[in-house]
Amino acid sequence: MVYIESWDEFVDRSLQLFRADPQSSRYVMKYRHCDGKLVLKVTDNRECLKFKTDQAQDAKKMEKLNNIFFTLMVRGPDADISEASSKEQMEQQASKKGRGRRQ
Protein backbone atom coordinates (compact mmCIF):
# COMPACT_ATOMS: atom_id res chain seq x y z
CA MET A 1 0.00 0.00 0.00
CA VAL A 2 1.51 3.28 -1.05
CA TYR A 3 0.50 6.28 1.04
CA ILE A 4 1.12 9.49 -0.86
CA GLU A 5 2.03 12.59 1.15
CA SER A 6 1.14 15.26 -1.40
CA TRP A 7 -2.51 15.76 -2.37
CA ASP A 8 -1.65 17.03 -5.84
CA GLU A 9 0.58 14.05 -6.53
CA PHE A 10 -2.19 11.71 -5.35
CA VAL A 11 -4.69 13.37 -7.72
CA ASP A 12 -2.32 13.31 -10.71
CA ARG A 13 -1.27 9.70 -10.27
CA SER A 14 -4.79 8.45 -9.54
CA LEU A 15 -6.22 10.14 -12.66
CA GLN A 16 -3.35 8.66 -14.66
CA LEU A 17 -4.09 5.22 -13.22
CA PHE A 18 -7.78 5.50 -13.97
CA ARG A 19 -7.27 6.70 -17.54
CA ALA A 20 -4.87 3.82 -18.22
CA ASP A 21 -7.49 1.22 -17.22
CA PRO A 22 -10.98 2.67 -16.67
CA GLN A 23 -12.59 -0.79 -16.69
CA SER A 24 -10.87 -2.13 -13.60
CA SER A 25 -9.93 1.05 -11.69
CA ARG A 26 -11.97 2.04 -8.67
CA TYR A 27 -11.96 4.90 -6.19
CA VAL A 28 -12.66 4.05 -2.54
CA MET A 29 -13.26 6.37 0.37
CA LYS A 30 -13.21 5.25 4.00
CA TYR A 31 -14.39 7.56 6.77
CA ARG A 32 -14.19 6.89 10.52
CA HIS A 33 -16.05 9.48 12.55
CA CYS A 34 -14.88 8.02 15.90
CA ASP A 35 -11.20 8.47 14.91
CA GLY A 36 -11.71 11.53 12.72
CA LYS A 37 -9.82 9.85 9.87
CA LEU A 38 -10.37 9.84 6.11
CA VAL A 39 -8.56 7.46 3.73
CA LEU A 40 -8.80 7.56 -0.06
CA LYS A 41 -7.70 4.70 -2.31
CA VAL A 42 -7.44 4.39 -6.09
CA THR A 43 -6.48 1.01 -7.50
CA ASP A 44 -6.62 -1.00 -10.71
CA ASN A 45 -6.05 -4.27 -8.82
CA ARG A 46 -2.36 -4.15 -9.76
CA GLU A 47 -1.19 -0.84 -8.38
CA CYS A 48 -2.66 0.93 -5.35
CA LEU A 49 -2.46 4.59 -4.37
CA LYS A 50 -3.67 5.77 -0.98
CA PHE A 51 -4.04 9.08 0.80
CA LYS A 52 -4.88 9.44 4.48
CA THR A 53 -5.77 12.54 6.43
CA ASP A 54 -7.45 13.94 9.49
CA GLN A 55 -7.73 17.50 8.15
CA ALA A 56 -11.01 19.16 7.28
CA GLN A 57 -9.39 21.06 4.40
CA ASP A 58 -8.63 17.74 2.67
CA ALA A 59 -12.32 16.84 2.81
CA LYS A 60 -13.02 19.92 0.70
CA LYS A 61 -10.33 18.90 -1.79
CA MET A 62 -11.79 15.39 -1.85
CA GLU A 63 -15.19 16.77 -2.88
CA LYS A 64 -13.60 18.23 -6.01
CA LEU A 65 -11.88 14.92 -6.71
CA ASN A 66 -15.24 13.15 -6.25
CA ASN A 67 -16.73 15.38 -8.94
CA ILE A 68 -13.84 14.63 -11.27
CA PHE A 69 -14.24 10.88 -10.80
CA PHE A 70 -18.02 11.00 -11.28
CA THR A 71 -17.54 12.84 -14.58
CA LEU A 72 -14.81 10.49 -15.78
CA MET A 73 -16.71 7.36 -14.87
CA VAL A 74 -19.99 8.33 -16.46
CA ARG A 75 -18.72 10.13 -19.53
CA GLY A 76 -15.59 8.11 -20.15
CA PRO A 77 -11.88 8.51 -19.46
CA ASP A 78 -11.49 11.06 -22.24
CA ALA A 79 -14.13 13.42 -20.84
CA ASP A 80 -13.31 17.03 -20.25
CA ILE A 81 -13.10 17.43 -16.49
CA SER A 82 -12.68 21.15 -16.12
CA GLU A 83 -14.58 22.14 -13.00
CA ALA A 84 -15.82 25.22 -14.80
CA SER A 85 -17.87 23.09 -17.17
CA SER A 86 -19.99 21.65 -14.36
CA LYS A 87 -20.50 25.10 -12.85
CA GLU A 88 -21.44 26.52 -16.26
CA GLN A 89 -24.05 23.82 -16.71
CA MET A 90 -25.57 24.66 -13.34
CA GLU A 91 -25.65 28.33 -14.31
CA GLN A 92 -27.28 27.48 -17.63
CA GLN A 93 -29.93 25.46 -15.85
CA ALA A 94 -30.59 28.34 -13.47
CA SER A 95 -30.87 30.82 -16.34
CA LYS A 96 -33.28 28.58 -18.23
CA LYS A 97 -35.51 28.43 -15.16
CA GLY A 98 -35.29 32.23 -14.92
CA ARG A 99 -36.48 32.68 -18.49
CA GLY A 100 -39.44 30.42 -17.84
CA ARG A 101 -40.59 32.48 -14.87
CA ARG A 102 -40.26 35.77 -16.74
CA GLN A 103 -42.49 34.51 -19.55
Binding site: S25, R26, Y31, C34, D54, Q55, A59, T71, M73
Partner: protein, 131 residues
Protein backbone atom coordinates in the same frame (compact mmCIF):
# COMPACT_ATOMS: atom_id res chain seq x y z
CA UNK B 1 -26.07 -6.16 -1.84
CA UNK B 2 -29.11 -3.96 -2.29
CA UNK B 3 -29.37 -1.99 -5.55
CA UNK B 4 -31.34 1.21 -5.01
CA UNK B 5 -32.38 4.30 -6.94
CA UNK B 6 -30.13 7.34 -6.35
CA UNK B 7 -32.45 9.13 -3.90
CA UNK B 8 -33.17 6.17 -1.60
CA UNK B 9 -29.46 5.39 -1.75
CA UNK B 10 -28.64 8.86 -0.41
CA UNK B 11 -31.24 8.50 2.35
CA UNK B 12 -29.80 5.16 3.39
CA UNK B 13 -26.25 6.55 3.23
CA UNK B 14 -27.32 9.37 5.56
CA UNK B 15 -28.68 6.84 8.07
CA UNK B 16 -25.42 4.88 7.83
CA UNK B 17 -23.43 7.98 8.70
CA UNK B 18 -25.72 8.73 11.62
CA UNK B 19 -25.40 5.18 12.96
CA UNK B 20 -21.60 5.17 12.70
CA UNK B 21 -20.71 8.25 14.71
CA UNK B 22 -19.61 6.44 17.89
CA UNK B 23 -17.78 3.56 16.26
CA UNK B 24 -17.42 1.98 12.84
CA UNK B 25 -16.38 3.07 9.36
CA UNK B 26 -18.14 4.01 6.17
CA UNK B 27 -16.68 2.89 2.84
CA UNK B 28 -17.89 4.46 -0.41
CA UNK B 29 -16.64 3.03 -3.69
CA UNK B 30 -16.96 4.58 -7.14
CA UNK B 31 -16.44 2.46 -10.24
CA UNK B 32 -17.17 2.71 -13.93
CA UNK B 33 -19.40 -0.16 -15.02
CA UNK B 34 -21.63 -1.16 -17.88
CA UNK B 35 -23.74 -3.22 -15.44
CA UNK B 36 -23.52 -6.19 -17.84
CA UNK B 37 -21.64 -9.42 -17.43
CA UNK B 38 -18.48 -10.07 -19.43
CA UNK B 39 -20.18 -12.46 -21.86
CA UNK B 40 -22.84 -9.91 -22.81
CA UNK B 41 -20.22 -7.19 -23.14
CA UNK B 42 -18.08 -9.29 -25.50
CA UNK B 43 -21.12 -10.07 -27.64
CA UNK B 44 -22.00 -6.38 -27.80
CA UNK B 45 -18.45 -5.47 -28.78
CA UNK B 46 -18.30 -8.04 -31.55
CA UNK B 47 -21.72 -7.06 -32.90
CA UNK B 48 -20.72 -3.38 -32.96
CA UNK B 49 -23.34 -2.20 -30.42
CA UNK B 50 -22.20 0.76 -28.31
CA UNK B 51 -21.93 -0.15 -24.62
CA UNK B 52 -23.44 2.41 -22.27
CA UNK B 53 -21.31 2.89 -19.17
CA UNK B 54 -22.66 3.99 -15.83
CA UNK B 55 -21.10 4.96 -12.55
CA UNK B 56 -21.58 2.34 -9.85
CA UNK B 57 -21.60 3.71 -6.33
CA UNK B 58 -21.41 1.31 -3.40
CA UNK B 59 -21.55 2.13 0.30
CA UNK B 60 -21.12 -0.09 3.33
CA UNK B 61 -20.80 0.21 7.07
CA UNK B 62 -19.11 -3.17 7.36
CA UNK B 63 -22.40 -4.99 7.85
CA UNK B 64 -24.85 -3.74 5.29
CA UNK B 65 -24.04 -2.82 1.69
CA UNK B 66 -26.10 -0.59 -0.56
CA UNK B 67 -25.47 0.47 -4.11
CA UNK B 68 -26.79 2.59 -6.92
CA UNK B 69 -25.89 3.13 -10.54
CA UNK B 70 -25.79 6.55 -12.20
CA UNK B 71 -26.29 7.43 -15.83
CA UNK B 72 -24.95 10.46 -17.71
CA UNK B 73 -28.20 12.37 -17.10
CA UNK B 74 -28.57 11.81 -13.37
CA UNK B 75 -24.99 11.96 -12.11
CA UNK B 76 -24.69 15.72 -11.69
CA UNK B 77 -27.72 15.99 -9.46
CA UNK B 78 -26.49 13.01 -7.46
CA UNK B 79 -23.00 14.47 -7.15
CA UNK B 80 -24.42 17.68 -5.65
CA UNK B 81 -26.63 15.82 -3.14
CA UNK B 82 -23.79 13.42 -2.31
CA UNK B 83 -21.45 16.36 -1.58
CA UNK B 84 -24.11 17.82 0.74
CA UNK B 85 -24.42 14.53 2.65
CA UNK B 86 -20.65 14.27 3.07
CA UNK B 87 -20.29 17.89 4.20
CA UNK B 88 -23.06 17.42 6.75
CA UNK B 89 -21.57 14.29 8.32
CA UNK B 90 -17.81 14.47 7.90
CA UNK B 91 -17.23 16.98 10.65
CA UNK B 92 -14.92 15.01 12.94
CA UNK B 93 -11.85 16.04 10.96
CA UNK B 94 -9.43 18.55 12.40
CA UNK B 95 -9.39 22.14 11.26
CA UNK B 96 -6.14 23.87 10.28
CA UNK B 97 -3.68 24.27 13.14
CA UNK B 98 -2.10 27.37 11.63
CA UNK B 99 -5.36 29.28 11.85
CA UNK B 100 -5.72 28.23 15.48
CA UNK B 101 -2.25 29.62 16.21
CA UNK B 102 -3.20 32.87 14.52
CA UNK B 103 -6.37 33.01 16.59
CA UNK B 104 -4.37 32.66 19.82
CA UNK B 105 -2.14 35.54 18.68
CA UNK B 106 -4.95 37.76 17.39
CA UNK B 107 -6.99 38.12 20.62
CA UNK B 108 -3.84 39.45 22.34
CA UNK B 109 -3.56 42.07 19.62
CA UNK B 110 -7.27 42.78 19.81
CA UNK B 111 -7.06 43.47 23.54
CA UNK B 112 -4.33 46.04 22.89
CA UNK B 113 -6.16 47.70 19.99
CA UNK B 114 -9.75 47.20 21.11
CA UNK B 115 -10.54 50.88 20.54
CA UNK B 116 -9.50 50.72 16.88
CA UNK B 117 -11.61 47.58 16.38
CA UNK B 118 -14.68 49.18 17.92
CA UNK B 119 -14.25 52.20 15.67
CA UNK B 120 -14.03 49.86 12.68
CA UNK B 121 -17.26 48.18 13.82
CA UNK B 122 -18.97 51.57 14.03
CA UNK B 123 -17.78 52.36 10.50
CA UNK B 124 -19.15 49.03 9.21
CA UNK B 125 -22.48 49.58 10.95
CA UNK B 126 -22.84 52.96 9.27
CA UNK B 127 -22.17 51.38 5.89
CA UNK B 128 -24.91 48.74 6.21
CA UNK B 129 -28.00 51.02 6.39
CA UNK B 130 -26.73 53.05 3.42
CA UNK B 131 -26.72 49.90 1.25
Amino acid sequence: MVLLQPDPFLNELTSMFERSTEKGSIWVTLKRSSMKCKATRNKMETSGQPIEYRCLVRATDGKKTISTSLSAKEYQKFQASYATVLKAHMNALKKRERKDRKKTVEPEKKQDSSKSNSSKKRALSTLKPSK
